[in-house]
Amino acid sequence: MTTAPTQPATWINACPTHRLNRADGAAVLMPDGRQVALFRTLDDQYYAVDNIDPFTNAAVISRGIVGDRAGEPTIASPMLKNVFSLRTGQSLDDPAVQLTTWPVRVHESTIQINTRAEQGTP
C-alpha cells in the first residue's frame, strides 16, 4: 500500500450544492491530478471516493447508480456493476478491493473536498 503524496490538507471547491442532485454523482479533478467521484445521497449526505473503477481502470465511478444495500449507502460502478460502500469505499463483492475515500463538507453552499485522502478508512 502506498501513501498519499505529502501536501497540506486543504479544502478545494467541487461545485455549488445546487449542481449536484440527490442520488447523483459528479467527477472532480484534484490538484494532484487524481480524480474523485463525489456523491449526494437522498438524505443529503455527501461522500467522495476514487473515480477510477479498480476492476477496469476506467474513470467512471461518478457515473454509477447511488443506492443502498441493507441500509449501507452504495455506488454501483457503471462499467461491470461492482458495488462499493460509499462510507468506506469497500467493495461489497470482493473483500480485497477498496476505494480511497475523501472527507467532504458543505461550506457556504459550496461542496468542498479535502485534498488529503482518508486512506484505509475502516
Binding site: 449542481r19 447523483d24 480524480q35 477510477i52 476506467a58
Partner: protein, 836 residues
C-alpha cells in the same frame, strides 16, 4: 476401464450415453458411439419444427464427445463378431467391446407398391429427408402423404408450411387409428379439413404412376379414384433396424426387433438393445418415452444396478396442425368390462372420452381431441380412483381445474421421463429444488415435451413453496406487478413508488427497471429531474459507454436507408472529432471514442443534419433491418424498406424490459434475417408473415410464426399488441424468447392474446401504443434544448472542459482505438486483476 460400444446416435443412444456419463463417477466405462447420420443426435420428436424455423442446430441434443466418450458420425456399423467381441464399420474401423448396445432405431416402412421408388417419393425420418422434401416442394402445388398416423399428419403440416396443398391417404377408417377411436378420428378429420388438408380414409394406394400428361405422379387408390401430386411422402409405420442383430445370430421378435428381457439384454448377455430397434415381450415401441426408459435401465445395469423395464406408458399428447390430440392409458377400452364416458361436441370442436373400470371407479385411460388441457391432470390419474363425477372431469373446465392435490404420490407427472409426483416432492424437500428450472435439472421432469410444466408449478405451490418474484431487496413485487401498480396509481416517480411500495433508497437493479417502466408508460424525458439518477449506464448519458469510459454514438438510420448527404455529415463529424467508425450489425454507423463532454457538440451537428437518437444505448427498440424489397430486388414480393421504416419510426423510443430488434424481408429468401429478431416480418404473395421471439445473445433462438398473410394495418395492430403485452408482463431484462416460453401456454397463449384477443385487452394495448407514438420526441434534441440537462455533460464539475487524463488512443488500421486506460491518479488499492 471397460469398453462400451453404442451403435446408433439417435435420441435413445444419446440418452444412454448422457445417463451413463453423468453417473459413472468412478470412470468405469469408456464409451464409443458410431452413428450413420452426418451429425450427432438431434430431437427427432421435434423434427417438424424444422419447417417452422428451427435449424439443425436448434434441434441438436448437444455433442457429448469429451473425456471417456468418442462419437463417430457418418460411420455405419457393418457387422458384429460376438466371439471376438468386435464391431466393424463401413470405414474399416474395428471396435472391441466388453458390452455392446444396439440403439439402431428403425427405418420408415415403404410399402412395395409399384412406383414407390420414383423421384419425388420421400420418407419422413431424418433432417436429410426433410431437406429432400423441401427441394421437391419447390414449385410443387400438390403433395400426398400416405399414412394418417401421427407422423403422417405432421408430414402433411410440413407440406402445408412449404406452401403445398396437402392430401392424406389412410387405410384405416379414421385418422390416427393407433391412438384414438372412431369418434375422435371423425372430429380430427373435420378439424384437419378446416385447415386445408384433404383427408381420404378407408382407402389404400395401389400404385404410383405417371399422370396422363406426363408431369408428376398419379396415385391409384383402392376406392377406384386417383390423386395427382407433385410429391409423395410415405408415413405408414416403422420397421426396427435389426439387420445387424439378425446377421450376428441374436434372437429377434416375431414381428421384428431385437428380443430383449426386462433388463434390456438380448440373447447374448454382453449385448443390449434399446429404443425402436428392440422388441420387449414382442412389442416394438415407436415412441420416445419407452426408449428413454430402456436407456436408463441399461445405464443403471452397466453400473451394477438392478433396474428393470416392464413395459411403458404409450400416452401421447400432441399438437397436430394446431389441433390438440391426446391419448392415454387404455384409450381403446380393451380391458375386460371397461366402460366409456364420452363428450362429443362437434360444434365446439371437442371430443373427450374416459375409459373406466367395470365398477366405474378407476380411470383406465382416455382420449382428448380439440382441447387437451385436462391431459396433464387426467393422465397421472390412470389406475387411481376417480376424484369425482367422470362426466364433470371432461367438461371444458373440469379436468383442467382439478389440481395436483388430487393425485397420489405414485402418479406419473412426466411420462416422457417417468417422473412421479413422489419423486418431485422428494426433490423439493430433500434436494432443495424450489422452482421449475431446479425441478427440471434435478429430475428431468418437463424437459422433453413440456406438457407437464404447469403441473410442476402446481406441485411446487401445493408443497408450500412460494416462488420469489421480488425485483430486488427494495421491492417485494415482480416487474409485472410494479407495472400494474404504476398504471393503477398513476405513480410518476421512483421516490413515490419506493416510499409507498418498497423499502430503502433503491439500487442499480430496481432504479433502471422502474425508470424503464415509467418511460414505457409515458413518463416524459428520461433525464428529467430525478429520472436522470435512475438510468442505467448508457441511458445516463444517452450513449453507449465503452471500455475506456468513452462513448459510442449511433444515430438512427431507419430501415438502413440513408442519403449521400447524411453519410457525408457522419463522415465529417467522425473526422472532426477523431472518432473510430464502424458499420454495425444492424445497418447503422457506430462512432466510437467520444468523451462525455464531447457528446453535446457531436449531437448538435447530427441533429442539425436531421439525425435523431438511435436509442442504441437503451433497453428500447434498436433497429428494423431490411433487405431492398420490390424497389430493386428481382425476387422481392413486397416493399420491405417502406415497411421497415414505418415500423422503426412507429416504435422508436419505446422502452422495454430488454432491447428489441426487428427486421423485414421482402421475400422468403429472408435476406434481412428477420427470424433472428424479437419481431420479424417476411413478405408473402398475400401479405406479411409475423414471427416473434427470435433472440441473439447468450441463448440464440429463432423466431416462430405468430400469424400469416396479414395486410399491413393488421400486422401493425398485432405488433402493437405483442410489444405492449411484452412490456407489461415480462420480467426485468427478460428477452422475448424466454418470456414467451415462460407464459402459461407459450406461443399458443400469446397468439390467443394477440390475434384472438382472449384477454379482452387488445384495444387497451393498442391505445397505449398510440399514446407512445403520439408522445415521441427525439431525446437528444430535447437535451440540446435544455441547459439543465446539458449541464450533466461535463468531464469534471470543477474543470468542465478538461479531458479525462486517463483516456488516450493509438492508431489501428488508420483509425483511433483505445489504449488500455492508464491508471493515472492510481487508487491505493489493488485491482482484482492485480490481486490474483
Amino acid at each position: 476401464m471397460e469398453e462400451l460400444v453404442v451403435i446408433g446416435n439417435g435420441m435413445v443412444g444419446h440418452r444412454l450415453v448422457e445417463a451413463l456419463r453423468d453417473r459413472d463417477t468412478g470412470h468405469q466405462w469408456h464409451i464409443t458411439v458410431v452413428g450413420e447420420e452426418p451429425r450427432t443426435a438431434y430431437d427427432r420428436v421435434a423434427l417438424s419444427s424444422y419447417f417452422d424455423g428451427a435449424s439443425a442446430q436448434d434441434l441438436s441434443l448437444g455433442d457429448l464427445t469429451g473425456p471417456g466418450v468418442d462419437i463417430h458420425v457418418n460411420e455405419r456399423a457393418t457387422g458384429i463378431d460376438r466371439t471376438a467381441r468386435t464391431v466393424t464399420t463401413a470405414s474399416g474401423r474395428t471396435l472391441g467391446y466388453d458390452r455392446l448396445v444396439l440403439a439402431t432405431g428403425s427405418t420408415p416402412f415403404v410399402p412395395p407398391i409399384p412406383g414407390h421408388d420414383r423421384d419425388g417419393c420421400h420418407v419422413y425420418r431424418t433432417i436429410e429427408d426433410l431437406d429432400a422434401i423441401t427441394a421437391s416442394a419447390q414449385g410443387a402445388t400438390t403433395g400426398v402423404v400416405i399414412g394418417g398416423g401421427l407422423l403422417g399428419l405432421e408430414a402433411a403440416n410440413a407440406l402445408r408450411l412449404l406452401g403445398v396443398n396437402a392430401h392424406v391417404v389412410e387405410l384405416a377408417p379414421h385418422l390416427m387409428p393407433a391412438q384414438i377411436d372412431e369418434g375422435a378420428g371423425a372430429l380430427l378429420k373435420n378439424l384437419v379439413d378446416e385447415l386445408g388438408v384433404t383427408v381420404h380414409t378407408g382407402t389404400a394406394t395401389t400404385a404410383i404412376e405417371d399422370t396422363p400428361h406426363g408431369g408428376g405422379h398419379r396415385l391409384v387408390l383402392s376406392n377406384g379414384t386417383h390423386l395427382d401430386a407433385d410429391l409423395v411422402v410415405f408415413s405408414v409405420g416403422i420397421r426396427p433396424r435389426d439387420d445387424l442383430a439378425r446377421a450376428g445370430g441374436l434372437d429377434v421378435g416375431e414381428r421384428g426387433g431385437v428380443s430383449i428381457d426386462d433388463t434390456c439384454t438380448t440373447s447374448d448377455p454382453r449385448i443390449h438393445a434399446i429404443g425402436e430397434a428392440a422388441a420387449h415381450r414382442g412389442t416394438v415401441y415407436g415412441l420416445i418415452a419407452p426408449g428413454n426408459a430402456m436407456a436408463e435401465v441399461v445405464a443403471d445395469r452397466l453400473l451394477g444396478g438392478d433396474a428393470t423395464f416392464t413395459g411403458a406408458d404409450t400416452s401421447t399428447k400432441l399438437k397436430l396442425l394446431g389441433v390438440d390430440v391426446a391419448s392415454f392409458g387404455d384409450a381403446h377400452g380393451r380391458t375386460e368390462g371397461a366402460l366409456d364416458v364420452v363428450v362429443n361436441d362437434a360444434a365446439a370442436g371437442r371430443y373427450a372420452k374416459l375409459v373406466l373400470s367395470d365398477d366405474a371407479t378407476t380411470l383406465l385411460g382416455g382420449i382428448l381431441v380439440g382441447d387437451a388441457t385436462a391431459y396433464a391432470t387426467l393422465r397421472p390419474m390412470v389406475g387411481s380412483p376417480l376424484p369425482g363425477d367422470p362426466l364433470a372431469l371432461i367438461t371444458p373446465e373440469g379436468g383442467a381445474a382439478l389440481g395436483a392435490d388430487a393425485l397420489p404420490d405414485s402418479a406419473q407427472i412426466c411420462s416422457c421421463n417417468a417422473v412421479t409426483k413422489g419423486a418431485l416432492c422428494e426433490a423439493i424437500h430433500n434436494e432443495g429444488a424450489t422452482d421449475v428450472p431446479a425441478l427440471k435439472a434435478c429430475t428431468k421432469a418437463g424437459t422433453s415435451c413440456g406438457s407437464c410444466v404447469p403441473m410442476l408449478k402446481q406441485i411446487l405451490t401445493q408443497q408450500g413453496i412460494e416462488q420469489s418474484k421480488a425485483l430486488c431487496e427494495h421491492f417485494p413485487q415482480s416487474r409485472a406487478e410494479l407495472v400494474e401498480i404504476v398504471r393503477a396509481t398513476n405513480t410518476a416517480t421512483f421516490s413515490a413508488l419506493i416510499a409507498a411500495h418498497g423499502t430503502g433508497t433503491g439500487c442499480d437493479i430496481c432504479k433502471p427497471a422502474v425508470a424503464s417502466i415509467l418511460a414505457s408508460l409515458g413518463g416524459g424525458h428520461i433525464l428529467e429531474g430525478e429520472a436522470a439518477t435512475l438510468q442505467d449506464t448508457n441511458d445516463r448519458y444517452l450513449a453507449n459507454m465503452q471500455r475506456n469510459g468513452t462513448y459510442s454514438v449511433v444515430p438512427r438510420i431507419p430501415g438502413g436507408e440513408i442519403t449521400p448527404d447524411k453519410l457525408i455529415v457522419i463522415g465529417e463529424v467522425a473526422r472532426d472529432f477523431h472518432l473510430y467508425t464502424k458499420i454495425t450489425g444492424g445497418q447503422r454507423i457506430d462512432l466510437f471514442g467520444a468523451r462525455l463532454e464531447q457528446l453535446p457538440a457531436i449531437w448538435s451537428r447530427l441533429v442539425n443534419a436531421g439525425f435523431e437518437s438511435g436509442h442504441a444505448y437503451g433497453k428500447a427498440l434498436r433497429t428494423v433491418k431490411s433487405c431492398v424489397g420490390t424497389t430493386w430486388c428481382r425476387y422481392g414480393v413486397q416493399d420491405s424498406v417502406g415497411l421497415a421504416i414505418r415500423l422503426e419510426e412507429r416504435y422508436r423510443g419505446l422502452r422495454s424490459p430488454h432491447k428489441l430488434k426487428s427486421a423485414v424481408s421482402g421475400c422468403a429468401r429472408e435476406c434481412a434475417e428477420a427470424r433472428s429478431k424479437d419481431f420479424g416480418i417476411i413478405a408473402t404473395d398475400q401479405g406479411w408473415n409475423l414471427y416473434v421471439g427470435g433472440n441473439g445473445g447468450f441463448t440464440p433462438r429463432h423466431a416462430e410464426l405468430l400469424a400469416s398473410d396479414l395486410d399491413e394495418d393488421t400486422l401493425i395492430r398485432y405488433i402493437d399488441r405483442f410489444l405492449m403485452f411484452y412490456i407489461r408482463t415480462a420480467d426485468r431484462l427478460q428477452r422475448t424468447a424466454p418470456w414467451i416460453e415462460a407464459l402459461d401456454g407459450g406461443l399458443d397463449h400469446l397468439r390467443d392474446v394477440v390475434v384472438n384477443d382472449s384477454l379482452g385487452i387488445a384495444h387497451e394495448l393498442e391505445a397505449a401504443m398510440t399514446d407512445h407514438v403520439a408522445a415521441y420526441a427525439d431525446e437528444w434534441a430535447a437535451v440540446l434544448a435544455d441547459p439543465d440537462k446539458l449541464a450533466r455533460f461535463v468531464s469534471f464539475t470543477n474543470a468542465p472542459d478538461t479531458p479525462d487524463p486517463t483516456i488516450s488512443f493509438t492508431t489501428t488500421r488508420e483509425q483511433p482505438t483505445p489504449d488500455t486506460p492508464l491508471n493515472l491518479g492510481m487508487p491505493t488499492h489493488r485491482s482484482k486483476e492485480a490481486a490474483r
